[in-house]
């Protein structure tokens, strides 16, 4: 491994492998910025329009606020299309299909006017309320070259014309780039889902850590009769695979009347054999002299636990905490079984429901996937070392 050539090869191989591993993430992000027409292309679009900085600048000019867009009452926005005078384009605000009353389409006045060297499409809000989104369709004659003020989200052929469609003609920069994210977020009560997930995972981590620390300390440092029996029982529990517990625990929860509550999500997994083992290992590695000295100074077992063992075992607690949090946040099967109502859905269940709801709107689906994994990925980048060590520790025998 000394020579430069060998090093280069190692880097190339690792880069290729890393590229394959990272590709699904890139594809998720890229798709989450695509318009439906870009997503559904036989030839993949590598860099969608919404990822290009030039278009962010264009979008920032459209709408009341340069970041969030929108069209307030009485306000108007003008889009400029360079083109000759002979062929005027047509413009309209499409009605949402099947809607009896469409406030946006009815409350927006569309004018097409001749300007210097091109056409102005002016949208004016004549209603009383502000609009966050104003969809727009422009019919552009096919023989005239097109230079739109913002790349259209879809472009279809309609007789003599190109039918150019914008999902939002007043997006602002962020509204334009994150259109799919906003759509996905508004489509389901994600705030509630995130609350359920975070609450479940945090309580599991905090209470689970506390219980495991107590038991592990007793098993590592206190000589009490029956210790071996407890240890063997805990070991034996580890042999039981998780799926054996699904049915009986469900029945138990049903009898308790706990189905579809936080209890069902949290309580069955509070005591963790894995946590007990990990922390016991940690406590055993602390020097016995420490505890002897404390004992001579008159410290009881509880003082030893809370004043010496716990503060010294923070790395072990962190790695177990990360592991438990990941398991709880990413779990699908257990929440799927024990919850029914949308109020008790975790983010994973919400995403599962969204997979079937979103249909072919892959942009929104990938946006939802992206924000579901975002907390964990951000957490990883903040506490990279703890993550890696925490996971690596699970492999120690």
């Amino acid at each position: 491994m000394r020579s430069k050539a060998a090093r280069l090869i190692v880097h190339l191989v690792l880069l290729a492998g890393g590229g394959v591993m990272a590709f699904p993430f890139y594809w998720m992000l890229a798709t989450s910025f695509k318009s439906p027409q870009e997503a559904l292309q036989a030839e993949p679009v590598w860099v969608p329009e919404r990822m290009k900085p030039m278009n962010w600048l264009k979008a920032a000019r459209l709408g009341d606020s340069s970041l969030f867009g929108g069209l307030g009452p009485g306000r108007s926005v003008a889009l400029f299309f360079p083109g000759p005078e002979a062929k005027p384009p047509k413009a309209l605000v499409p009605r949402s299909p099947g809607a009896f009353f469409d406030p946006v389409a009815d409350g927006t006045r569309v004018e097409v006017a001749r300007g210097e060297g091109g056409w102005w499409v002016r949208l004016t809000n004549t209603g009383e309320a502000g609009f966050r989104r104003v969809p727009l369709v422009v019919l552009w004659p096919k023989e005239v070259p097109l230079e739109p003020p913002l790349p259209p989200d879809a472009r279809r052929s309609q007789g003599e014309y190109w039918r150019l469609e914008w999902v939002n003609a007043v997006p602002g920069a962020l509204g334009y780039v994150f259109h799919n994210y906003l759509e996905a977020w508004d489509a389901a009560p994600w705030g509630r889902y995130f609350f359920v997930s975070f609450f479940t995972a945090s309580v599991q981590v905090v209470v689970g850590l506390f219980l495991a620390a107590l038991a592990a300390f007793a098993l590592a440092r206190i000589p009490f009769p029956g210790k071996e029996a407890v240890f063997v029982l805990v070991l034996a529990t580890m042999m039981v695979p998780g799926e054996v517990l699904l049915i009986p625990n469900y029945v138990l929860l049903a009898r308790l009347g706990w189905l579809d509550t936080f209890y069902a999500l949290i309580v069955p997994w509070l005591a963790s054999v894995f946590g007990i083992f990990l922390l016991r290992q940690f406590y055993l590695s602390l020097p016995q002299d420490l505890f002897d000295a404390a004992r001579i100074d008159g410290a009881g077992y509880l003082t030893q636990l809370f004043r010496i063992a716990l503060p010294l075992s923070v790395p072990g607690l962190v790695s177990y905490g990360i592991f438990t949090f990941l398991g709880a946040y990413n779990a699908l099967l257990w929440p799927l079984i024990v919850t029914q109502s949308p109020e008790m859905r975790t983010v994973q269940l919400g995403l599962l429901a969204f997979v079937s709801e979103a249909g072919s709107d892959y942009g929104a689906l990938m946006a939802a996937s992206a924000f579901v994994i975002a907390p964990v990925v951000l957490g990883y980048f903040v506490a990279q070392r703890q993550f890696i060590q925490g996971i690596a520790r699970t492999g120690l025998k």
Binding site: L14, V234, V244, L246, Y250, I337, G395
Partner: protein, 398 residues
């Protein structure tokens, strides 16, 4: 009487509390709860005689039928008020048990009891909440052994082990060895390989479903196979590969369906990072001197890794192998997201998926429990066999 076993009072108290809850839920007859109460009464009286007024909190536990946790809190209170009056040994015994009991009680209720309860449930005919169940003995197991879907699920689990465990281990070992060569940008590469493992399987499977899309999926564009419906192709891969040669394979020999291979590829991608991190930790524990000595003797790259790395890494490899084996029996999420119905002709059925279908779609808890028990048995046997056969060849000393 020199000493008083307060930890026994505590133990009986815990069982009294659990027994009272069990009685409320109909798992324990009333006389069972009352005999536990009588047992606690005995220890409470003994304690009062031994410790006098300072043991009075013990009596609190006698009110447990009103509020079960009192049976645990009573002895705790007694320990606090008795304090140093207890001899050293009794203190150790008490605090040991007092610290262990909360976790142990939860384990008993949510892991030990359910294991037996699952077996009990499996002996009935269609347990559900709709009607009383009839005792059926081992009938569920008899049906299970002739159930083609169960064998399909077991076969898929077998293929999952055969395909993903060696592939994952080989790739991960290779990557870990490369990462262990003091390569620059180690953190970047490790992140690239590790990220899939911490992403939720639900989200990852949603992305892969999009990559596998028959018309607009990326994979079909990459492989120039337009229209190939990865996730809805029930034909076995061996059959697909050998068909051009004129060989027609049927049944188990046809191999896992193309859809299941797609699921397995996604799973390898997901778990690779975990294996890399564990193997890298194992590699870093191997002393550098071994390699230096080998280099002095003129060993080549492959000789070094075959003769030093492989044997010294074997405990880690063995651990990952065991984990992969057990994990194969628990595959659910990726299958459920990629092929929600279990695939065409149930070709992507796995054991946990089948258990879920039987228990929570068809509401047949007893049959689902039978599946769970058989799975448990298979895992147990496999683990024992694997220990016998493989662990002899594992080198635990460095």
């Amino acid at each position: 009487m020199r000493t008083y076993p307060l930890h026994w009072a505590l133990g009986v108290g815990v069982f009294l509390a659990l027994g009272l809850y069990a009685q409320r839920l109909g798992f324990l007859p009333a006389w069972g709860a009352w005999s536990l109460w009588a047992g606690y009464l005995f220890f409470a009286l003994w304690g009062l005689r031994w410790g006098g007024w300072r043991a009075v909190p013990l009596a609190l536990g006698l009110l447990a039928p009103l509020f079960p946790p009192l049976a645990f809190l009573g002895p705790l209170g007694a320990a606090l008020s008795l304090g140093r009056a207890l001899p050293e040994k009794a203190q150790a015994a008490f605090y040991g048990w007092a610290l262990v009991w909360p976790a142990l009680a939860l384990l008993l209720v949510w892991q030990v009891f359910p294991t037996f309860y699952a077996f009990y449930l499996s002996l009935f005919d269609r347990v559900n909440f709709l009607r009383p169940a009839a005792f059926a003995g081992l009938q569920n197991y008899r049906i299970l052994l002739e159930d083609p879907l169960f064998w399909r699920a077991l076969g898929n689990t077998f293929w999952y082990v055969v395909f993903t465990v060696p592939t994952g281990l080989l790739l991960a070992t290779f990557v870990a060895i490369l990462l262990n060569t003091q390569v620059a940008f180690l953190g970047l590469y490790r992140t690239l390989f590790f990220l899939p493992y911490i992403t939720a399987l639900t989200a990852a499977a949603a992305v892969w479903r999009w990559i596998y899309h028959p018309e607009f999926g990326f994979l079909n564009w990459l492989l120039h196979t337009p229209g190939l419906d990865w996730l809805n192709t029930p034909t076995g891969v061996f059959a697909l590969l050998l068909r051009p040669l004129g060989v027609e394979l049927q049944g188990f020999l046809a191999g896992p369906s193309l859809a299941f291979v797609a699921v397995m590829a996604m799973s390898v991608w997901h778990f690779l990072g975990y294996q890399v991190v564990i193997l890298l930790a194992g590699l870093q524990a191997i002393p550098k001197e071994y390699y230096e000595a080998a280099e002095l003797d003129g060993a080549s790259f492959f000789q070094k890794h075959r003769l030093i790395t492989w044997p010294l890494l074997s405990p880690t490899t063995f651990f990952l192998f065991t984990l992969g084996l057990i994990g194969a029996f628990q595959v659910f999420t990726q299958v459920y997201v990629l092929t929600p119905t279990g695939g065409v002709l149930q070709d992507t059925l796995t054991l946990t998926f089948y258990l879920y279908n039987k228990g929570f779609r068809d509401s047949d808890f007893s049959y689902a429990s039978a599946i769970a028990m058989v799975t448990f048995l298979v895992i147990l046997v496999l683990t024992l066999v694997q220990r016998r056969l493989l662990e002899k060849r594992v080198n635990y000393e460095i």
